[in-house]
Homo-oligomer: 490 residues x 2
Amino acid sequence: MSTTATAELFAFQRDTEALGQISGRLGWDQETVMPAGSADQRAEELSALEGILHARRTDPRLKDLLDAASPANEAEAAQIREIRHSYERAVKLPESLARSLAALSSRAQGIWAAARAADDVKAFLPTLSEMIRLKREEAACLASGGDLYDALLDDYEPGAKAADLAAMFDRMRPRLVALRERVLDRPAPEALTGHFPAEMQLRLSREIAEAFGYDFNRGRLDLAVHPFSSGSGQDVRITTRVDEGDPLNCFYSTIHETGHGAYEQQVAPRYTLTAIGKGASMGVHESQSRICENQLGRSEAFSAWLYARLSREMTLNIGSARDLYRAVNRVTPGFIRTEADELHYNLHIMLRFDLERALIAGDLEVGDLEAAWNDRFAADFGVAVPRASLGMLQDVHWSCGLFGYFPTYSLGNVYAGCLHQALRQDVPDLDAALSQGSAAPATAWLQEKLRRHGALRSPVETIRTACGFAPDEAPLLAYLEAKFSDLYAL
Amino acid sequence: MSTTATAELFAFQRDTEALGQISGRLGWDQETVMPAGSADQRAEELSALEGILHARRTDPRLKDLLDAASPANEAEAAQIREIRHSYERAVKLPESLARSLAALSSRAQGIWAAARAADDVKAFLPTLSEMIRLKREEAACLASGGDLYDALLDDYEPGAKAADLAAMFDRMRPRLVALRERVLDRPAPEALTGHFPAEMQLRLSREIAEAFGYDFNRGRLDLAVHPFSSGSGQDVRITTRVDEGDPLNCFYSTIHETGHGAYEQQVAPRYTLTAIGKGASMGVHESQSRICENQLGRSEAFSAWLYARLSREMTLNIGSARDLYRAVNRVTPGFIRTEADELHYNLHIMLRFDLERALIAGDLEVGDLEAAWNDRFAADFGVAVPRASLGMLQDVHWSCGLFGYFPTYSLGNVYAGCLHQALRQDVPDLDAALSQGSAAPATAWLQEKLRRHGALRSPVETIRTACGFAPDEAPLLAYLEAKFSDLYAL
């Protein structure tokens, strides 16, 4: 009987996964090719599909099948674990609350965008307040008496605890602040400037994506306002953006999304359309994009290839490979998270993490949020936020109800630091390939050690297995301190 | 109670329509942007969605709601009629048969494509034989003792009867054969030749699509191997193809698909995502593409604009507007339906219609099909079919199980003839606009008389209401005889 139940459970889940992929593809379509006038109808289409998905994720038959299922191996056990986790989470949430959250987050994004455009915090506060009320209600349903923020965090990083992250971030923060201050005391390196035609940027982006292991036979590269990666298995699409004055923005956006996309493409084909046929968590996903973008893509070896490759296309204002290495690692104080360099990025995240934790805990009122943001920004970045669009109104996340998402970005950076240390130990001649424009030895290592396993193991276990040690912040900090000491002659 | 049932029925149907739109969008994706290596996963995704759609179309609650529903007006009555028709058809078909047909048609397309590439009829016959067996079984389930072919035809052209179509086609055929013989006795006009860059063809295609009423705010134009139109309501996408040696192929494919696409876009917005928010039938749809492509697009007035417009882009081998009018209406005997001119096209259809009717009736064995095809082709076209890829293996339809589809193409031409006669009567100065590159007066008339009503009325009633008379073949034949007598100085 239990073999039948297991087969039935997996067959049911396979269709759910397939429908989930369709939902993701509609998201891709919306951000890349959808006509402007199709938005209202698209919202109805997505809502109909989400209704089907919600009904499947909370289907009462799932409970019986989960109870009767008996896994034949580790992969089946992991699938059952994932399906049970999804089911138990989904049934804890009353449908009325789920609908209220969906409706509010759809409405709130428009209100947030208008408030940001007008630099008008007050226009957003009532909506944000309502969002926090609903998210606290959601967290209370999910937490079963535990920490509210942890319950939300679990959606993006299963098993992670906010208290652990807070302790780690508190260890990192003073060292990052100290390092940025030393760096900013030094003269800034020259930036890459000029006119770089869109066609050339996209052509090189395709080369670069392939160099970082992206398979165009099962994917494609398109333009989007905010680059993203979408899909799992055989159809994983990435996007990039083009600014004709700033090709590095395009190339490093491409490498970042290639990290995400190649991760999904390299999950073992036998896991496709199963509950583990995807990345292990948001944090592990971000580790794959970040190691490609930063530790590999912004390495001296890869910069040297990029310098030679770009020089074949046009005359550069930058005179040497070393100077391009300095240009791709320029540290500049700035207000916007998505434009931040390696040193500042995590400080942006820690600020948001502490504030959203306080909001969810009820320790911070939305009316006090702007002051709290600006105080913290002045403390960590040494400058005053001039207006809310450069401060607390800059990110879309809170208007979408994505509380608990921000810390996974920094966790990804921490994981990337660990993976990079292990990778360099296992593959000592990595720079030889990178300086020829190939990350193949690195992506082969990542595929073998981590990517092919998908969500077989918990996020922490995924990283630990790949690295051979338990992850912490030390490798990332050591990497940053060494790299920027060299770059800025500290 | 019945008001509640009506509202519940329409809400249920709205989600079904939305899911149907998603399925259509996946079809668009597959033909335009999907990576080559995504096909297997896509098949699973589509199958999962089709499973959901089938379950909704046969949901037992539908019967109760249909019985209890009471329409408040004509539009609601039409929606209930459409939902009932879909439900009653769907429940007549055993799920096992539906699955067998889906599996066979998926497999058969590959076998057909290989057989066509190898010109090997025998390799396709066992599959075709199995397809016909299943289609006869399907027809028997649907026909309730009536004509088998009519039961299949009803899927594409609700209410149409094969015997009526056969009688009409038999009246048309000798006049078309006679006309083509007289035309082919005359010297052939000069063809448009040269190198026409893809970029220019696509740029003009966009202009032309807009000239024929296509709204790019709720649609887009892409490339596809076999051009098609996809979607209803706010998201209707069209495709075209580019051959740099033959811009007319591109322009007239664009106009054809614009006719389909603008029809869907111009259905009244209040019908969007309802059971009548779409074209009335395949035949009525084809009338919209054909009147745009042929009666309007291949008119002397529009040819004159096209001559001037193309001449602004490059020097043409053709020396006058009149000569371009002759070139866009060149009659050439050929084996391939999709490349056929206005005179030959319906002869291709009639051949297929008679043969597929005989196959479904059991009056023709698949083993005798090739000989029957070739005999009929020789009789109507005056030439022997040299190989099966130019004969009975040329079309994909039978391998997909699309029996009953072919006659709707010619029915569309007949309807286009009727609409064109009524249009010219109501809008006498149409040529003034067409010669300026605008079909706006024509598309406004079509929108008002026909398109905005969607599937409110039966196909025949849709045409009759628009024209003010019951449709028959006389206007089409009169139009063809007048046009080609003038063009070829008969």
